[in-house]
């Protein structure tokens, strides 16, 4: 049985450097230049395996953390520019040390736990929040032959793992013993579960075209970027994932003007920092998934593959920042209506059209792919135009008869 790490260049390098390679022709082919007995004696391959795996995991997680901190800076700078101001530019050259300054500040802050809080759950919630974001990295191919694991159910794994963050938000909101946090938690559950569905369905079109759940295979299957073939799927995925990440215009979960800070109102110090890290990290991982699914992942001319991947990730991240800088927030019922009445039908249409096209057209021919792109583009425009009617205007207040005494007297 092949290891899920097979095909990972970095892993193979470390492994072959360490292990005795006589019995491992599969992973260290004898004809390659790497064929040389490693440092460990025969029978200790498991140690080489473990060390290599730990090394690559450490590398990926740390690189991700550094990128996420850099991203907090990038987001604040770009938001500033969108608002015709400068953004943080005081700490270090161009303010580049701002994330470090923030981290030091957060670490130096008092770590408060409210008196009415459920201590255990309260402390656990940030961890549960940050874990799924990091877990996603396990299957994300960030360069040619560069990934932690190429799992045959990759994209499903991503969807499954990201659904855990709902739980974290709810834990945080419920355990804080704060009513704003409670509102945030309730909103998180309602919103995130609803948007899970269109997001998953929007991926299906890509899967139909690629014929695989593995993210590596999806990248390799893209002859032209799927953003052209799946404009509707991309739109739904982008909208849905910004809702899953609580980003504008769906940032109800932490709507500052309404419920102060939502589920992490009561958090302070580094716990708050962990929440922020998870949120900013989620933008990066989501952008990475979008780059993988819709923009040919790491592939690109001239530049090294890792750089291409990074460029695409920051391109999508820029898109998210732009949206955040521009749009106001929707109301809860409108957000739900948007998911169920707008995104869900659109994603179903997308699946339907794509399935028909995959059946009817020979997808191995490039001309057919361009034809599909044309059809899908038209369908996307028509679909969005047709279903945008369902986004309601205004809405009605609930009919409530006002009793004469005010709340304080009726107590």
């Amino acid at each position: 049985m092949p290891s899920p790490l097979e095909g990972n260049a970095l892993f193979r390098g470390i492994y072959c450097w360490l292990a005795a390679n006589k019995g491992n022709a599969l992973q260290c082919p004898p004809d390659g230049p790497a064929f040389k007995d490693g440092w460990l004696p025969l029978g200790w391959e498991w140690l080489a395996y473990t060390i290599a795996a730990l090394a690559i995991v450490m590398l990926v997680v740390n690189a991700f953390m550094v990128l996420a901190t850099i991203y907090t800076y990038v987001e604040r700078r770009l938001l500033g520019r969108f608002q015709s101001r400068l953004g943080p530019n005081r700490a270090g050259p161009f303010g580049l040390l701002q994330p470090i300054a923030d981290a030091i500040k957060l670490l130096a802050k008092e770590d408060l736990v409210p008196a009415g809080a459920d201590r255990w759950v309260f402390n656990l919630a940030p961890v549960v929040m940050v874990v799924p974001v990091i877990l996603v990295l396990a299957v994300l191919p960030f360069g040619r032959h560069s990934f932690v694991a190429d799992v045959n159910i990759g994209i499903l794994y991503v969807v499954a793992v990201t659904s855990i963050s709902t739980l974290a938000m709810f834990m945080a909101g419920f355990s804080s013993g704060n009513r704003y946090a409670m509102f945030g938690g309730m909103r998180a559950v309602a919103q995130l579960i609803s948007y899970e569905i269109p997001v998953v369905l929007s991926i299906v079109g890509v899967l139909l075209l690629a014929g695989s759940l593995s993210l590596v295979s999806i990248v390799e299957a893209q002859r032209i970027p799927y953003i052209l073939l799946q404009p509707l799927g991309f739109f739904v995925f982008m909208a849905g994932s910004s809702a899953e990440m609580n980003r504008s215009p769906f940032d109800l979960v932490e709507a500052e003007s309404e419920i102060v800070s939502g589920y992490h109102t009561e958090y302070s110090g580094m716990k708050f920092g962990v929440f922020q890290l998870a949120e900013f990290g989620a933008v990066l991982t989501t952008s990475g998934i979008m780059a993988t699914l819709f923009l040919k992942g790491w592939e690109g001319p001239v530049l090294p593959s890792h750089l291409w991947f990074l460029i695409k990730v920051f391109l999508f991240a820029f898109l998210f920042i732009w949206v955040r800088a521009t749009l106001p927030r929707l109301r809860l019922d409108q957000v739900m209506a948007f998911a169920w009445k707008f995104l869900l039908p659109l994603s179903l249409i997308n699946i339907f059209i794509t399935a028909i096209e995959v059946l009817a057209l020979d997808t191995t021919k490039l001309a057919n792919l361009w034809l599909m792109a044309g059809i899908n583009m038209a369908v996307a425009v028509l679909g969005i135009a047709a279903f945008s009617r369902f986004v309601r205007l205004g809405g009605k207040p609930r009919d409530i008869t006002i009793e004469i005494p005010m709340a304080s007297e009726a107590r």
Binding site: A160, L167, F174, M186, L213
Partner: protein, 173 residues
């Protein structure tokens, strides 16, 4: 050896958290322990090379069902105190014990043909194919061989969804 170590670890945690689910008074924490159980079960499934099932376990149970349970917990009063034991204690113990014994009995008695079937046919290579392309295999089974039960199940779920909507829909006078 490593696999066995992980198996025992996961099994122990899963049993412990399952016990915690029924022993904890705080319903919210009990629900969270249930999530832990779901995760450990997913881990066990991964050890069995059933990644697809594991992921679906996480997606459906840990991601969705548990949140629904927690939602339901929120609607109950006195979350911290939990359920008080009542007169149905003994019958409930009996019933659950019986069901447990029955399940264990069936699991032990029944011959599980699926894996053997595959193994006997084309030996190891074929088994490997099943494991590496689980989604395709499952898709084939669900949508070709057992398409009728699959559809029946979906119709049932649809009916359940519609029923739920009808039940909780706000009535505008």
């Amino acid at each position: 050896m490593v696999q066995e170590m992980f198996f025992w670890l996961l099994a122990a945690v899963s049993v412990a958290s399952a016990l915690a689910v029924i022993r904890l008074h705080d319903l919210f924490r009990a629900a969270l322990m249930l999530v832990v159980t779901f995760f450990t079960v997913a881990g066990l499934l991964i050890l069995l090379n059933a990644e697809f099932l594991a992921v679906v376990q996480v997606l459906i149970y840990a991601g969705a069902i548990s949140v629904l349970i927690i939602f339901a917990v929120l609607l109950t009063r006195d979350v911290e105190k939990g359920n008080r034991p009542n007169r149905l204690r003994v019958p409930a113990l009996l019933a659950s014990g019986l069901i447990g014994v029955f399940l264990v009995f069936v699991a032990l008695q029944k011959e599980w043909p699926l894996l053997e079937d595959v193994l006997s046919k084309d030996s190891l290579a074929r088994a490997e194919e099943v494991f590496t392309t689980t989604p395709q295999w499952l898709a084939g089974l669900l949508l070709r061989e057992w398409v009728l039960p699959f559809e029946v199940a979906s119709v049932l779920l649809l009916a359940a969804i519609l029923g739920a909507i009808v039940l909780v829909r706000e009535r505008h006078p």
